[in-house]
Amino acid sequence: MSGAVKIGILYSTTGPYGTMGRDCRDGAELAIEEIAASHPGRIEPVFIDPEANIDRYLEGARSLLRDHGCRHIIGTITSLARKEVIPLVEKHDGLLWYMCPYEGFEANDNVIYTGGCPNQHLLPLLDYLLPRFGNRPYLIGANYVWGWEMNRLARELVEEAGGAILGERYLPLEETAVERIVAEIEQRRPSFILNNLVGPSSYAFHAAIRALAVRDPGFRPENCPVVSCDLQECELTDIGLGVATGQLCAASYFDTVVSPDNAAFKLRVASRFGPGRRISSLFASAYASVKLCAEAIIEAGVDDPATITQLVSAAAHQSVLGPLRIDPQTHHAALPFHLGRISDDGGFDIVTSLPSIAADPYLTGQRKRKAPQLRIVS
């Protein structure tokens, strides 16, 4: 292979989820720099920032695939953007590396998923919460497919467990008027609050719950926690240090994970971005995904998606997320589960962990049912 292989990095560093996008981009950048040091001239990144504009995701992906000749794109945060980009990636026979937790029910041949689907975050989370806090939660979510589908599934699982949903509300990403929802929560007194809000609405909600808990101890985190599946270390400063202390979040990685790999990783991040930088699961996943992609391209000597997919799914790869195994059928990574409790200093104290869980994006392993007995209508 002569010349550098270009890989596209497609993240929005501004807009309602800009904090997350910047962490993704930084994680990708660190991986690119390390690859450049160990294999000079082999991989060349092409960064495009769609600034949270959905049309510009499409333009960006087209430019990466067609103008820059990238076959691999690491990027997109929302499911909306991912779904927008996938048809183009398919058309150009590329590979999209998607590394955010998402709502599942997808397994595209032209995508590698390293962020986790509900059987890797929501299901173990509810397994933990229901026996400890009760089975009468309140559901809130971002007003798009992530919020809708996560809450639909949560409702199904809670009701199967004999519980009841005390309320279900949705807010746009940038909506911060949460008073009516909080008033309803105060009145209905749920066992816990499942928070699938994203961005500023989530930050405003945490602040309002904090204020409620000051008035009414029943809403302190130890009594009625706000629980998320996608809250990141980098967002805790946006919420305000101390505001969300005690609230819970599930993730495949936390800055506080204790392992030799993570200790070394944190040193490298500190020397590149300065001490005190908290590493989020998005940062770590973007880093691990770029590393996995670039190292496979270098090892294979080619960048065609079929070869790369085969290579990355052939064995587990050592990563900061632990041994990273991509399933050859689902194209999803097996991921560990961690439950973190937000601490005063803007991190997560790990409450409990599970070793790697294989992804089951269509939940085929859940609640196995008998095949239907269909009769012939004559």
Binding site: E106, N108, L153, Q329, Y362, T364, K368, R369, L374, V377
Partner: protein, 193 residues
């Protein structure tokens, strides 16, 4: 709200020549938990799978072992053609959903869920129509029984109807069934009140 569909252990048959379309379909269906067979010959009516996907571009009558649009299983058309004749062929077989060719993998799961849902709805509607037809057919019996009760108990038609209805409720039978029993003499005439 409908529960999360689960196709684990279901059998699917793809009636299509083996090519990239079947390759992609087999991959997706296997992910959803199906056991998949691919064939390009008529289905065996005695051993139908749980769901059927058929090439509507090339399909011929006789490929599917049933008459008219009475598909006994959820049926999905794999369709690249826009020719009205091909769409009509698919409708004539009783398809409940379409997957356009070339197949986008994201199109498969929604089509399966839709086809199963439509199929169940059609069955429920057919059962309901059959039930209503039976009741309409039996309606003269109810009328005759009301007349008989009215004469025997010296009550008006409305009261006689009330007696018959109470009797049906007590016996947990339909109005038509109890009317038939009374007229046939298998059931004694109910008392007034």
């Amino acid at each position: 709200m409908r529960e999360t569909p689960n196709f684990t252990g279901w059998r699917a048959a793809i009636l299509h020549r083996e090519d990239q379309t079947t390759e992609r379909l087999v991959r997706q269906l296997t992910l959803f938990g199906f056991d998949v067979t691919v064939q390009w010959q008529p289905l065996d009516a005695r051993d139908l799978p749980d769901i059927i996907l058929v090439d509507a571009d090339q399909g011929w009558s006789g490929l599917l072992p049933w008459k008219d649009e009475q598909a006994p299983r959820p049926l999905i058309a794999l369709l690249g053609s826009e020719a009205p004749g091909r769409v009509a062929w698919a409708m004539g077989q009783g398809v409940a959903a379409i997957i356009a060719k070339p197949v986008a993998s994201s199109a498969v799961y929604p089509a399966l869920v839709l086809a199963v849902g439509i199929h169940e709805e059609r069955r429920a509607v057919a059962d309901k129509i059959a039930h209503l037809e039976e009741r309409v057919r039996m309606r003269p019996l109810v009328h005759a029984a009301v007349q008989k009760i009215g004469q025997a108990c010296h009550v008006n038609e409305e009261q006689a109807y009330g007696i018959l209805r109470n009797c049906a409720m007590k016996k947990r039978l339909s109005m038509e069934q109890i009317a038939g029993s009374i007229l046939g003499g298998a059931e004694p005439l109910p008392e007034a009140g």
